[in-house]
């Protein structure tokens, strides 16, 4: 029987070929900007890990309890006894700090997901493309991130964050109501990312907090291994 072509086997072969052709065509990716690769912080003045402008800055956009905590940490730091932040304690940095804490990022881009890998303590932020947030989300360190394309801009929307992570390396706190939107687009011929962060938190911020960070295309295709808990024994011993 082997190799004998009957009407049924011929029909199956036709179907098989058609299915392959249809699936192949249906999986051709629509051309979106390619964020794949390793990205380093641009180190542009004013775009650091910490809130800049120590003495002159206006923190009136923060609720009093948030501003008080920022001032408390600042005073402790100036007194030479800084309060450790998430990165120092090897705690999850949460969103958006996973993207702004100063270490390299690696982006893996597929049709269904954009995976942001942080060199800092090998943290992972999955962004699920073209889906909605689940309705029954429990608060977590990284929350739930969805993505969509708005022209050439990748829009990442994160909710479901717990109130234990810190917004930045300064140690700015937030509530579980924090809603983070990051709008990312390529500049400079694809060698730079402009990322505009918009943070809304009706329990912690009086108005949306908008800031921009830039990332430059780095060397190599993958970030290095950085295991946080291995390197901060001296902090743990305190």
């Amino acid at each position: 029987m082997a190799g004998k072509v009957t009407a049924r086997t011929g029909w199956r072969q036709l179907c098989r070929g058609s299915a392959i052709a249809w699936l192949s065509l249906s999986t051709v990716a629509v051309a979106h900007p390619d964020f794949s690769g390793v990205w380093e912080h641009s180190r542009i003045p004013g775009e650091g890990e910490y809130i800049d402008g120590k003495d002159t800055r206006d923190l009136s956009f923060m609720m009093p309890w948030v501003e008080a905590e920022v001032r408390r940490r600042e005073e402790a730091s100036l007194a030479g006894n800084p309060i450790p932040n998430a990165g120092v304690l090897c705690l999850p940095e949460g969103m958006p700090n996973i993207m702004t804490s100063g270490h390299d990022l690696q982006i893996i881009q597929t049709e269904k997901e954009v995976l942001i890998l942080a060199e800092s303590d090998h943290q992972i932020l999955p962004v699920y493309m073209n889906v909605n947030h689940p309705g029954n989300l429990l608060p977590s360190w990284y929350g739930h991130s969805i993505g969509r394309w708005n022209g050439d801009t990748l829009v990442i929307d994160t909710v479901g964050l717990n109130a234990r992570s810190l917004i930045d390396s300064t140690g700015t706190p937030h509530s579980e109501a924090l809603h983070v939107v990051v709008r990312m687009r390529l500049e400079n011929g694809g060698k730079r990312i402009e990322a505009v962060f918009t943070l809304e938190d009706p329990l912690a911020l009086r108005r949306p907090w908008v800031y921009t960070r830039h990332f430059e295309k780095g060397e190599g295709g993958a970030v290095s291994e950085y295991a946080c808990a291995e390197n901060n024994e001296h902090y743990q011993a305190k």
């Binding site: 029909w11 090998h122 943290q123 689940p134 295991a227």
Partner: protein
């Protein structure tokens, strides 16, 4: 013209519905397009210990056996921490690959990245270039890995390991000369085979291999893994028809 194409498509679809199942269509397409090893996988036959074929004993050197027995005793007495558990440091190879948690494999560009739920560890495998020279090789828990495809099998060659991880969940030690070759092969659309070959002259008298199989789990998303906290289902989707497999730690 448009109408006749639509009719042809309807005829084809109607006939195909009887001739092939949906799974067959997907499998046929996958076979043709070379789907590789991408996807979310969950080990089917987790074991705390490394089990070579026929449950043979691990070929320890006398020194290697002594160190293993010391590890067993100290771990039991709490005199030695398992830093993979206590500090959630990357658990190295092949331990990470054989963990009882799901992993996601992504093929992208000149890399294959294996993202492991356990200790949120990602393992980057470069498909081009070689290992750095001895002077440039930075020891890492997950080593330095390069890979190539051999007739649909992904072969990963890993060297450059730190010596303070264990090879399995029981505490099998290794030295800095550890060399792990990991072979990943799709047995079918829904099953993956992984064979890890361990070679470490500091610990073993000869190399040995351990095999595990994995189930394709498109219904599963990797969960957030926060060290020292309960491992939680955040959206409820993981519980549908899935028994959470807790690590025997």
């Amino acid at each position: 013209m448009k109408t006749s194409n639509t009719i042809r498509m309807l005829v084809l679809l109607t006939g195909c519905a009887g001739a092939m199942t949906a799974a067959e269509v997907v499998a046929a397409a996958a076979a043709k397009t070379g789907e590789g090893v991408s996807g979310i996988w969950w080990i089917e036959d987790y074991a705390r210990e490394l089990l070579p074929p026929d449950n043979a004993d691990l070929p320890f050197t006398p020194e290697g056996r002594l160190r293993y027995e010391q590890n067993l005793a100290q771990l039991k007495a709490g005199a030695m921490p398992d830093v993979g558990v206590t500090k959630c440091l990357p658990e190295g190879l092949p331990r990470t690959m054989f963990a009882p948690y799901p992993l996601q494999i992504v093929q992208h560009g000149n890399y294959v990245t294996l993202i492991h739920e356990v200790n949120h560890t990602f393992w980057s495998v470069a498909l081009t270039g070689g290992h750095p020279g001895p002077d440039d090789l930075e020891p890492a828990f997950m080593g330095d890995s390069i890979g190539h495809w051999d007739h649909g099998m992904l072969v990963i060659d890993s060297i450059g390991f730190k010596a303070n991880s264990f090879l399995d969940d029981t505490g099998v030690p290794h030295g800095t000369q550890l060399h792990v070759t990991t072979r990943l092969r799709r047995l079918s659309h829904t099953r993956l085979e992984v064979i890890a070959t361990v070679d470490d002259p500091d610990t073993f008298s000869k190399s040995f291999s351990v095999r595990h199989t994995y189930e394709w789990r498109p219904d599963v998303s990797l969960l957030e893994y926060a060290c020292g906290e309960d491992h939680r289902v955040l959206t409820g989707t993981r519980t549908k028809g899935v028994t959470l497999k807790w690590p025997a730690k």
